[in-house]
């Protein structure tokens, strides 16, 4: 079953073409990695999928589980099962993580016609997912990402993913800013939350090291706004050794 189908996607940022005919198909149960040089369009792809204002789709289509993603607002995409792991999670002073996540989870549930989680049910779920990422619950009582280290922000992203339980996650450089231990914890978190037959993941990364923990089924090279090469996990190793230029040429 196809989870994400991207066909001939074109997108611009401030009128500058960034994605130039990107096509990609991801099946349920699969983990794909996208690697590529700086400026290739990796983050643009994640923002276009998330529906960030300012990222203009000029052609092509994206379907999530058969549903046209591009016609949905960002919050509707979340309710449809998309999760976007931010490269730079945003700090929001004064808004507590717990409150924000409970409202988010319940807003998604409402959009899907499900019953809201009670305070107790939510806290239980949050505790479980925080534990999975070895994150102290006290941190989730603090304002969203405020005063968090780079690594804590990325772990908090994974806690959010665990709580929101998406069908499909785009993780934009979730490995950047992580030390060796945190990288392992985050890698194991991704596996335990998303490595399931009815879910799929698109990992955007610069480095091979996250892929030691989260084994991709496919590795793609994104360059110049399109996928220029696709292979198995060995492609990531090849890139690490020889660099993008040698592999892509």
């Amino acid at each position: 079953m196809t989870m994400l189908q991207i066909e001939n996607l074109h997108a611009t940022v401030a009128d500058k073409p960034i994605l130039k005919g990107l096509s990609l198909s991801i099946n349920a149960g699969e983990i794909h990695a996208i690697m590529g040089p700086n400026g290739a369009g990796k983050s643009t792809l994640s923002y276009v999928l998330g529906g960030r204002p300012g990222y203009q789709v000029t052609g092509g289509s994206v379907a999530l589980d058969g549903q046209d993603l591009l016609e949905l607002e960002p919050h509707e995409r979340a309710a449809a099962g998309l999760f976007l792991g931010f490269q730079y999670p945003v700090e929001i002073p004064g808004v507590s993580f717990v409150q924000f996540l409970r409202e988010s989870a319940n807003s998604q549930r409402k959009a899907r016609g499900e019953e809201p989680l009670s305070g107790g049910e939510f806290l239980k779920l949050a505790k479980e997912k925080a534990g999975l990422l070895r994150m102290d619950m006290d941190m989730l009582k603090r304002p969203v990402n405020v005063g968090f280290s780079g690594g804590e922000k990325k772990r908090a992203e994974m806690v959010q993913m665990g709580i929101l339980d998406p069908k499909f996650a785009v993780l934009d450089e979730t490995d950047s800013g992580l030390d060796i231990d945190a990288l392992r914890i985050v890698g194991e978190g991704i596996n335990s939350i998303m490595r399931k037959p009815d879910k799929a993941v698109l990992l955007i990364t610069h480095y091979q090291r996250l892929l030691d923990y989260v084994k991709p089924d496919f590795v793609h090279v994104l360059a110049g706004g399109r996928i220029v090469k696709t292979g198995g996990p060995e492609l990531a190793l090849e890139l690490e050794e020889q660099g993008y230029e040698a592999v892509v040429a």
Binding site: H75, P89, V90, I92, P93, V95, S107, Q160
Partner: protein
């Protein structure tokens, strides 16, 4: 406080941004309420302005007395809160105010805080959220008299514009005749952080839900320390929901 005999015009600094037509209907204003807090005493008041009009309150704080005034200014076409506070030696005054305006409302908080004797402190914090064609004004004057050394006065005024058509006026003013004083003031007018909004929406919050969360956080500081903080917050939240 204004001279009760003559309707002010916009040439008068304290009414520069006022809705004079609305004011004319209320004129002449009744005598301002006057509160005298004796030495060592405490006074607290929450002013909820939910139907329009002018509220005037004069407070005189005796030696070592304290006062906390919290204001939620959101009702009617024209809502004005005027405070005139006099601090004697070692007195302490706190103002926390929030104004929530939409449509063509004009909302104002105008304060004059007089440090007439040494070692008194005052903290004033006002947060305004303005939508539509609303105008929100905060004029805060701190006057430090000769000899009022050791004065510690702080003013923080911030406004959030939800639409480009809304207007915020912020004017902190200092008049200092003493040497040894600490007076801080800051004001800022801005819009909701677009990155933050997208982040919240990407987790499933609708645009109004995301805005409400951020705006709630923005105004929450204004009610810190209020006796009935829960009631003020709930009233403010209801109004924010209606605005979004």
């Amino acid at each position: 406080m204004s001279n009760p005999a003559i309707l002010p015009t916009r040439k008068s600094e304290e009414f520069r941004y006022s809705d004079i037509d609305a004011l004319a209907k209320l004129w002449p204003l009744p005598e301002p309420e006057s509160v005298i807090v004796p030495a060592g005493g405490h006074f607290s008041r929450a002013i909820v302005q939910d139907a329009g009009g002018v509220t005037q309150l004069a407070i005189s704080l005796g030696k070592g007395a304290t006062a906390a005034v919290h204001v939620l200014n959101f009702g009617g076409d024209y809502g004005r809160i005027e405070l005139d506070v006099t601090l004697h030696e070692g007195a302490d005054f706190t103002l926390g105010g929030a104004q929530l305006g939409a449509g063509s409302q004009t909302l104002e908080i105008v304060s004059t805080v007089r440090h007439v004797e040494p070692n008194a402190s005052s903290r004033q914090l006002v947060r305004s959220v303005l939508a539509g064609q609303a105008t929100g004004t905060c004029l805060g004057k701190v006057a430090v008299a000769r000899g009022a050394d050791g004065t510690d006065a702080e003013q923080s005024v911030r406004a959030m514009l939800l639409d480009r058509t809304a207007t915020a006026n912020a004017k902190p003013e200092l008049e200092i005749f003493a040497d040894d004083v600490k007076c801080a003031h800051g004001c800022a007018v801005g819009e909701l952080d677009a990155q933050g909004l997208f982040y919240l929406q990407s987790r499933g919050l609708t645009p109004p839900e995301a805005k409400r969360l951020m705006l709630h956080a923005f105004i929450a500081e204004a009610f810190t320390g209020a006796d009935d903080v829960d009631r003020l917050e709930q009233l403010a939240l209801n109004q924010l929901e209606a605005m979004l």
